[in-house]
């Protein structure tokens, strides 16, 4: 079993090195995409016919909201892999994703409030879309606080994985809430089942920003994972060798 190549990459030592070399590229990609996306969103995309300039919040609101859901799913997948195969690195990845996911969930809620006030006429309403996104935020907070409260890393991993897996049912609820129930929040402008209901330059700006947020999230999660690896593996031989080599 241990002869498979992917075990090599599942080893924290190899991953630590690989991630360290990839992080600058992801940061660079995020910065370039962000600059391009903001340029398209603010200088090329036209004014909207019903919302005037207020709609420009979409270029950060939708990418942050998408990533807030996507990161939770990835976190749950890592947690499931960790539980199934007892791989420490998977649990570390789940822990590394949570703070960035929580931050982006907050961004989605915050920009949503600042968008809702001038267009709907309310900062906040308790409709299914907004409520389920708020639940996502509390799930991230619960995951992080629970892991921080338990001293033994193995037990912390398992407890966190439980929240990640139970909470993941919330993600499809967020996504489909605007179809399943009456909500104040409008339906999806972009989906796999129908043509996008946005002018193509607006759509382009939004997608470029979504990729920018995605690249940023990968860079941040990898960077955090490296710190977690150092914290947890500091007693191991390879960390000693790594640090001796640097000293």
């Amino acid at each position: 079993m241990s002869g498979f190549n992917w075990y090599k990459y599942a080893s924290p030592a190899t991953f630590y090195d690989l991630a360290g070399r990839m992080i600058p590229w992801f940061y660079a990609a995020a910065a370039l995409l962000c600059a391009a996306g903001l340029y398209i969103g603010f200088f090329l995309a036209p004014t909207d016919f019903q919302q005037s300039e207020a709609y420009r919040i979409i270029f950060i609101h939708v990418p942050a909201s998408w990533m807030s859901m996507f990161i939770y799913v990835v976190m749950a997948v890592w947690a499931a892999i960790g539980l199934a195969f007892n791989t420490r690195l998977s649990f570390m990845m789940a822990s590394a994703l949570a703070p960035t996911g929580a931050m982006l969930t907050f961004v989605a809620l915050w920009t949503g409030a600042l968008w809702g006030r001038p267009t709907w006429g309310a900062w906040w309403v308790w409709d299914a879309r907004l409520t389920s996104e708020l639940i996502l935020f509390f799930l991230y907070i619960g995951f992080m606080a629970l892991q921080a409260a338990i001293d033994d890393p193995r037990r912390a991993d398992r407890a966190g994985a439980l929240i990640a897996l139970v909470g993941v049912v919330n993600v499809p609820i967020i996504y489909f809430s605007v179809r399943w129930w009456n909500t104040l929040h409008q339906g999806a402008s972009v989906s796999v089942t129908k043509a996008p209901s946005m002018a193509s330059i607006m759509l382009l700006g939004m997608l470029v920003m979504a990729f920018a947020v995605w690249m940023y999230a990968i860079a941040a999660a990898l960077s955090r994972a490296r710190s977690i690896i150092l914290e947890r593996e500091r007693n191991s031989q390879w960390v000693a060798q790594l640090l001796e080599g640097k000293a």
């Binding site: 961004v107 001038p118 710190s227 914290e231 390879w238 960390v239």
Partner: protein, 68 residues
């Protein structure tokens, strides 16, 4: 978008507070996260260095990926 100067751009037809409030807070949060990541990395390196120097360095535990 028809260009009417920076003042008009920042005014955003009256939606300045909402738009710049969204982007500003997001930018602040991202900068804060990058700083906290850097701080955590420094702490982790210091902790590992101390452990290597003073603590008991255990036998390599790095290869027990599949223990179940």
């Amino acid at each position: 978008m028809n260009w009417g100067g920076w003042a008009e751009f920042f005014y955003m037809k009256g939606y300045a507070l909402y738009i710049w409030g969204s982007y500003g807070v997001t930018a602040m949060l991202i900068v804060a996260e990058i700083f906290s990541l850097r701080a955590r990395r420094q702490r982790a390196i210091q902790l590992a260095l101390r452990t290597v120097k003073y603590g008991k360095v255990e036998k390599d535990e790095g290869n027990d990926e599949v223990t179940a």
